[in-house]
Amino acid sequence: MGGGAIINNTDKTELKEYLLGRLHDPDEERVETRLLSDPQYGEEFDIVVDELTDQYVAGEIQGAERGEMERHFFAAAARRQKLKVASALKEHKQHLRGGRRWVPSRELKIAASILIVFGLAFGAWWISRGDSDDLNKGVLALQTAYRDQRPLEPRISALAHSPFAQKRGAEVNDSMKDNLRLAELHLAQAVKVKPTAAAHHELGKVFLAQGKFDEAMQQFDESLKANPNDAQTYNDRGVAWLQKGDFNRSLEDFNKALQIDSHLNEALFNRALCYEKQARPEAAQADWNEYLKRDGSSPWAAEARQHLSHR
């Protein structure tokens, strides 16, 4: 029993047509006899079933075709069973994106089509900078991951406040892990296509949030090679050193960050934490007080006050 003939695109299209009940008798017979003799073709058949199910659940199949599919493709219980997995995967996708899908009206769809025509010229330019798209998507996924809680106490640059989750490992919520993974995928692609200082820096931030401190530091080093005067990157590398327990190097990086940009509140906040770790309470207190002079009302300020009150 051989592995069967090679499956080409025509076979795939024919399988799809068969599954949708659109083939005439002789073609149907050919598909069916092949299903009874070619295991590779059978496997391809199962894959096409999954793909059609996903397209149905994603709403990619509409109108009469959708109704046709419901009558024919989903007539057997085994196929309806497959919907459960596809819908669970869709739900996972939606949770991951943290957003709800918006269903546009017909008029809006027409308006969108017109805009698409005008957007073609813009699109040509946009394609040439596909890396920016990945960079933006990656940054967005990182921000989404940080929305409900943050896995590290020190401040990673340019991320909004969220409560510090003192839990570790498996207890950190799945949604955060998944969003960080999504951010990693996009940013790794951005670095691959165009390894700019910003792309390396953002990917390093994701590694930092994932607790992959060595990988984070590699990215920050690459970023600093291209842009040696970026205060935020020094701050973030300082966080990596702090998490690794090398407080001297961490302090060096926070100092460097503040030297380049004395207004960088993240670095001041982190330096106060670093002093605490070094058991230098006076230096820590001075930084917390300085921090509160600059920022008296944000949730970060509330954390700074807590540190002061725990002294």
Binding site: E32, L35, S37, G42, I47, E70, V85, A88
Partner: protein, 196 residues
């Protein structure tokens, strides 16, 4: 000593099955493989025709072929697969004539998901049984729809150093295991609800 009636049937069935295998191929191992492909193929065909009892119907085809084999094996010319197909077609026609009209409809899907469904909870549980790289592969594979999906699959295949076809196969196998696990999980949930 006479055999009880049930045992005679079993012996006859075993003999018929052996003859069926020999008819498929003189090499026992190859015959076994051919038998499996035929049975799985029959199930795929019956499911595609909308039958929920596809496995039973596949077995009916095989039993019917086994019964007729003594009459046809010396005269039938051609690939046995064609004979199985012919019997399957007859069974489809017969069953369609007396088939009940399906009343179950396809579950509807809202575009907005308000809260976790049982399916989703089961998916999350089942994902935990997968090794990290497999879990990431299946989730990354299904993360996008439409054009983005195509692009994502291309990136993934490139990263893994395999063809897109091989990636599709891997994702399909993982999805198969997930599907099985989710089915068991949902059955477990339904069982618990009954107990409560």
């Amino acid at each position: 000593m006479a055999f009880p009636a049930e045992e005679i049937v079993v012996i006859h069935e075993e003999e018929s099955f052996e003859s069926l295998l020999t008819w498929l191929d003189p090499n026992r191992e190859i015959a076994g493989q051919k038998y499996e492909v035929i049975r799985t193929g029959l199930i795929r065909i019956f499911v595609s025709k909308g039958f929920s009892d596809a496995e039973d119907l596949a077995d009916t085809v095989i039993n019917r072929v086994m019964k007729r084999l003594p009459e046809i094996r010396d005269t039938y010319v051609g690939d046995p697969v064609r004979y199985f197909h012919g019997v399957a077609r007859n069974i489809i026609r017969e069953t369609l004539r007396r088939r009940e009209i399906a009343t179950e409809t396809v579950p509807s899907f809202s575009e907005e998901i308000e809260s976790h469904s049982d399916e989703y909870d089961c998916l999350v549980k089942c994902l935990r049984f997968l090794a990290r790289e497999k879990r990431e592969l299946i989730l990354d594979y299904h993360i996008y729809d439409g054009r983005d999906k195509v692009e994502q699959h291309r990136h993934m295949a490139e990263e893994l150093g395999i063809t897109e076809g091989a990636l599709r196969g891997r994702a399909h196998h993982l999805r198969g295991s997930l599907e099985k696990c989710i089915r068991q999980c949902l059955e477990g949930m339904a069982g618990n609800e009954k107990q409560i």
